[in-house]
Amino acid sequence: MTAPKRILIVDDDAFIRRPLEFILREEGYQPATAADADEGLRAVESCPPDLIFLDVMMPGKDGLTWCAELKSDPRYARIPIVLLSARGQERDRERALALGAADFLTKPYSPHELKRRVRELLGSG
C-alpha cells in the first residue's frame, strides 16, 4: 500500500481551510495547511505535496503570482495546482489556466466536487 497523497491547502481564512482539511483527511489524503504564500512555500520545500489547493486573494503574495512562480520552478512545476477564488470572473479563470493551473474553482464550491477533482488528478487517497 502506497503512502497517502499529500495535499496542501493555502487560504488566509481558517474557517475555509478547516472543513476542507477535515474532509480530505476523512477521504484518506494527508492534508497540510498554510495561511499565505510564504507559509505555503516553506511547506512545499520541506515536503513537496502531490496537489495544492490555492486561494487567489490572500494577504502578501496573491495566489496567481505564487502559482506562476511554482510553475516556473522545475522542482515544483509538475505539482498540480487547483486555484480557488471568490471572484468568479472568467478572465481570472483563463489567466489561471494559462499559468499552468490544473483547474480553477469558484467559491462557494461543493466539497464533493472538490473530491472528484482530487480523484481525477491523484487517484483515490
Binding site: R18, F22, P59
Partner: protein, 702 residues
C-alpha cells in the same frame, strides 16, 4: 406756337383773324398787304370760292422788323367765316399765338357775331388754346354803316370790358393797322412771358411797346390815302380760286380725323412702350429682389427702379414710428432725409403715410410754401403704401416745373410697392427661418449635452452595478463557502466533538456575516423610504453608546466626549448607524496596537447665511489611510478602499455611502481627512440647532 431761332435771332409767330362770314377779315389782310414795302412784299395767298369768299384761308407773311434784338416774322391767317367750314377753321387756328376777332357792326348780324365768338371759343378749346391765356384782340368793323350798333352794345355781345375793341372801317383802311399793332403787342408780350429762361436771357433790354411802335412807323406812313375801292386785290396777289367748295372741307375734315387718329395711335403706342419699359423694370426689380435675402438690397432694388423708370429725383422707403415721426429707412437718388426732418414737409409726409392708399402732392410749393429751401427743385411727391407693414411707404419725389405723376406712374408705383412688399415679406420669413434654425441648433446642442449627461449617469450606474455584483458576490461567496463546507462535513463525516463544534461555530459566524450583509443592503435600499423618521432631542453620549454597541467596538475604541455638549435634534437610531459604519471601517483597517478613537466635540458648520453651531463625531484610526484621489470616491455606493493587504474587498462598499446619506438628512455631512501622523479621520458634522434640517422638512411636507 411761337418759335425762337436763337442762332439767327428770328422769332416766328402766328396771328389768326377770326370772325363771322363777310365781316372783313380778308379785307384786313389786304390792307396790311398793301402797306408792306412793295419790294419785300410777299405774296398774299388766298384760297377763295368763285364768289370771292374765303374758302380755306388767307396767308400773309409779315416782317415786323426788330423787337428786343430779334427779327419778328409773322404769318397772318384768316379763317373761312361760313358756318360749315368748322374743320378748316380749327386747322387754321391751331398753334395761333394770338387771335384778331373781326366783328361786324351791322346790328342785324348780332346773332352771326355771337355765334362766331362762341365758335372761336369752342375752336380754341378743341385746338388746346386757352382763351384766358392766348390774347384775343377784337375789332369793331364797318363803323361807317348807317345804324351801326354802338360800341357798348357790341361789347355786351362778347362780354368785353369797355374800350377793348378797336373801331375800324377796313375797306377804307381805317383801324386795320391799329388793330394789328394792338394784337401784335399783346401777342409778343405773351410770347416773351412764357419763353424758356435760357431764351429770355438772349433778349435785348428795352421797351417792347416802344420798339413795336418804331417798327410800325414805316407802315403807318404808307397808310392808304384813299378809302373804299382803293383796297382792291392787287395783281401780285391773285387769289387761288376753287370751283368746288365742299370738296376741300371734306378733305380737310378727313385729314384732321386721320391726324387725330394718328395722334391717338401715337399716344397709345408711346403709352404701350412706356408700360413695356415699366414692366421690364418691374421684372428686373423682381429678379434682383428675388436674388437677395437682405432687406437693404431689396429696398435698394425697388427704389432704384422707381427713380430710373419715372425719371424721379429721388425715392425713399419711409415708416412712421410710435410717436408719429417719419423715419426714412433707405433712399435712392436725391437724399430725401431732409424732407423727413423738416417740420412742414414731415407732417405732410406723415399725413400721406397715414392714408390708406396711394396719395400724390402735385405742387409742393403750394402745399408747403414755407419749406421752399428743403423742397427746392422738387415739384411733386407720391406716397405708395407697402403692405402689410403699417404706414410703411414708398415715397417718390419728382423735380422740375413739369414734374408730375400721371395715373400710369401711380399704377407703376403701386405695382412696384407690391413687389417690394413681397420682397420684404420674403426677407422677413427668411430671417425668421434663420432665427428658428439658430434656436434649433441651440436646442439640439442643449439636448445633446443633456443626453451626454444622462449617458454618463447611466454609465456610472452601470459601473455601480458592476461594483455591486463584484463586491456582493465576494462578500457572499466567502461565508457561503464556509457554510457549505462545514455543513457537508457535519452531515457526511463523524469527526470528533471539538471538530464538530468548530464547524458549527464557523457556520454561525458565516451566517452572521451574511445577515449583516443583507441587513446593510436593505438599510441602504430603504434610505430614501425612511424620511418619515422623527427628530428628537438626544444626548451625544447616547448616540456614542449605541454606535459602539452596533459596531462591536465597546471597550475597543477610545472615546473622548466633550462635556459641554447639550442634547441636539437627531433620529437616534440612524445617526448611531452612521457612526457605527465609520467605527466598523476604522476597526477593519486599524492595527491591533493602535485602537480606534472617537472624538465628539462642538463645531461650526459653514452655511450661506453664516456659520451655525454643530456637533462633530470624529472617528480616527492609524490604519494605512486613503490616497487623496480615493478620499471622495469611497463615499459612492459599492465603492470601497478595499483591503490594501489582500486586495480583497472589505465589505460591499455601502457603509460610507449610508453614513453620508444619514448625515445629510440631518443637515450635515461626512468628510474624510488624512490624520496627522498617519491613518484616517472620518468626521460626521451635523447642526446642533433645533432647526429642522431642510431635507427632512421637505420630505414631511410631501
Amino acid at each position: 406756337m411761337a418759335q425762337w431761332n436763337l442762332t439767327d435771332r428770328m422769332l416766328y409767330a402766328k396771328l389768326v383773324y377770326y370772325g363771322p362770314a363777310l365781316g372783313g377779315k380778308t379785307t384786313n389782310l389786304r390792307v396790311l398787304h398793301n402797306v408792306t414795302d412793295p419790294n419785300e412784299r410777299e405774296r398774299l395767298v388766298s384760297v377763295n370760292t368763285a364768289d370771292d369768299r374765303t374758302l380755306f384761308f388767307d396767308l400773309l407773311p409779315f416782317d415786323l422788323g426788330s423787337v428786343l434784338g430779334y427779327k419778328v416774322a409773322l404769318k397772318l391767317y384768316t379763317v373761312p367765316g361760313q358756318v360749315r367750314y368748322d374743320a378748316t377753321r380749327r386747322v387754321v387756328l391751331a398753334g395761333a399765338d394770338a387771335v384778331v376777332f373781326v366783328a361786324d357792326s351791322d346790328p342785324a348780324r348780332e346773332r352771326d357775331n355771337r355765334q362766331a365768338w362762341d365758335n372761336l371759343l369752342q375752336s380754341m378749346h378743341a385746338t388746346r388754346l386757352d382763351p384766358a391765356a392766348v390774347p384775343i384782340q377784337v375789332q369793331f368793323n364797318k363803323r361807317d354803316l348807317p345804324g351801326a350798333a354802338s360800341e357798348e352794345a357790341m361789347e355786351a355781345w362778347f362780354g368785353l370790358s369797355p374800350g377793348l375793341g378797336v373801331p375800324a372801317v377796313a375797306c377804307e383802311g381805317n383801324g386795320v393797322l391799329e388793330t394789328f399793332l394792338a394784337a401784335s403787342r399783346l401777342m409778343l408780350e405773351r410770347i416773351v412771358a412764357i419763353a424758356e429762361p435760357q431764351t429770355r436771357r438772349t433778349l435785348h433790354a428795352g421797351d417792347l411797346a416802344a420798339q413795336l411802335h418804331a417798327s410800325f412807323a414805316p407802315y403807318l406812313a404808307r397808310r392808304p390815302e384813299t378809302g373804299g375801292a382803293g383796297i382792291a386785290p392787287q395783281s401780285g396777289s391773285a387769289p387761288i380760286v376753287l370751283e368746288s367748295s365742299d370738296l376741300l372741307e371734306n378733305a380737310v375734315a378727313s385729314s384732321v380725323a386721320l391726324g387725330a387718329q394718328l395722334a391717338d395711335e401715337h399716344g397709345r403706342a408711346s403709352r404701350l412702350t412706356r408700360e413695356a419699359e415699366s414692366l421690364r423694370r418691374l421684372s428686373d426689380t423682381l429678379r434682383s429682389t428675388g436674388a437677395s435675402f437682405e432687406r437693404d438690397a431689396v429696398l435698394d432694388a425697388a427704389l432704384t427702379a422707381a427713380v430710373a423708370t419715372l425719371g424721379a429725383a429721388g425715392a425713399g422707403f419711409c415708416t412712421l414710428d410710435a410717436g408719429g415721426h417719419v423715419r426714412l429707412e433707405r433712399s435712392a437718388g436725391r437724399d430725401l432725409a431732409p424732407l423727413a426732418q423738416d417740420g412742414g414737409v414731415a407732417s405732410l409726409l406723415a399725413r400721406m403715410l397715414m392714408g390708406p392708399g396711394p396719395s400724390v402732392a402735385d405742387d409742393l410749393d403750394l402745399e408747403v410754401p414755407e419749406a421752399a429751401g428743403i423742397t427746392s427743385g422738387l415739384r411733386a411727391l407720391a406716397v405708395i403704401p407697402v403692405e402689410p407693414e403699417e404706414h410703411a411707404s414708398l415715397v417718390v419725389a419728382m423735380s422740375g416745373p413739369d414734374g408730375a405723376f400721371a395715373d400710369v406712374d401711380v399704377r407703376f408705383l403701386a405695382t412696384l410697392a407690391g413687389h417690394l412688399a413681397v420682397g420684404l415679406e420674403k426677407v422677413r420669413t427668411y430671417e425668421e427661418l434663420r432665427a428658428h434654425r439658430d434656436r434649433l441648433e441651440e436646442v439640439v446642442s442643449a439636448r445633446t449635452r443633456s443626453l451626454r449627461k444622462a449617458y454618463d449617469e447611466l454609465k456610472s450606474v452601470d459601473a455601480m452595478k458592476d461594483r455591486f455584483l463584484a463586491n456582493v458576490s465576494h462578500e457572499m461567496r466567502s461565508p457561503l463557502t464556509v457554510i457549505i463546507s462545514a455543513a457537508t462535513f457535519l452531515r457526511d463525516y463523524e469527526g470528533d466533538p471539538s471538530e464538530r463544534a468548530e464547524m458549527a461555530a464557523g457556520i454561525l459566524k458565516a451566517s452572521q456575516s451574511l445577515d449583516g450583509l443583507v441587513d446593510g443592503l436593505l438599510r441602504v435600499a430603504r434610505l430614501d423610504a425612511d424620511d418619515e423618521a422623527e427628530l428628537e432631542e438626544v444626548a451625544p453620549a447616547d448616540i456614542v453608546a449605541d454606535a459602539l454597541s452596533a459596531a462591536g467596538a465597546v471597550g475597543h475604541a477610545r472615546v473622548l466626549l466633550d462635556p459641554r455638549l447639550a442634547p441636539f435634534p437627531a433620529v437616534p437610531a440612524r445617526l448611531a448607524r452612521a457612526l457605527a459604519n465609520l467605527l466598523d471601517n476604522a476597526q477593519k483597517f486599524a492595527p491591533a496596537a493602535e485602537p480606534v478613537e472617537l472624538h465628539v466635540s462642538p463645531c461650526l458648520l459653514g452655511r450661506p447665511g453664516g456659520a451655525v453651531a454643530g456637533v462633530a463625531f470624529a472617528v480616527l484610526d492609524r490604519g494605512p489611510g486613503l490616497a487623496e484621489e480615493d478620499a471622495e470616491r469611497v463615499f459612492a455606493p459599492f465603492e470601497q478602499g478595499g483591503d490594501p493587504l489582500t486586495g480583497k474587498p472589505a465589505g460591499v462598499g455601502l457603509g460610507l455611502y449610508e453614513a453620508r446619506a444619514i448625515a445629510r438628512r440631518h443637515g450635515g455631512t461626512v468628510i474624510h481627512l488624512p490624520r496627522p501622523g498617519g491613518g484616517s479621520e472620518f468626521r460626521i458634522s451635523i447642526p446642533a440647532e433645533a432647526a429642522v434640517p431642510p431635507i427632512v422638512k421637505e420630505a414631511r411636507r410631501a
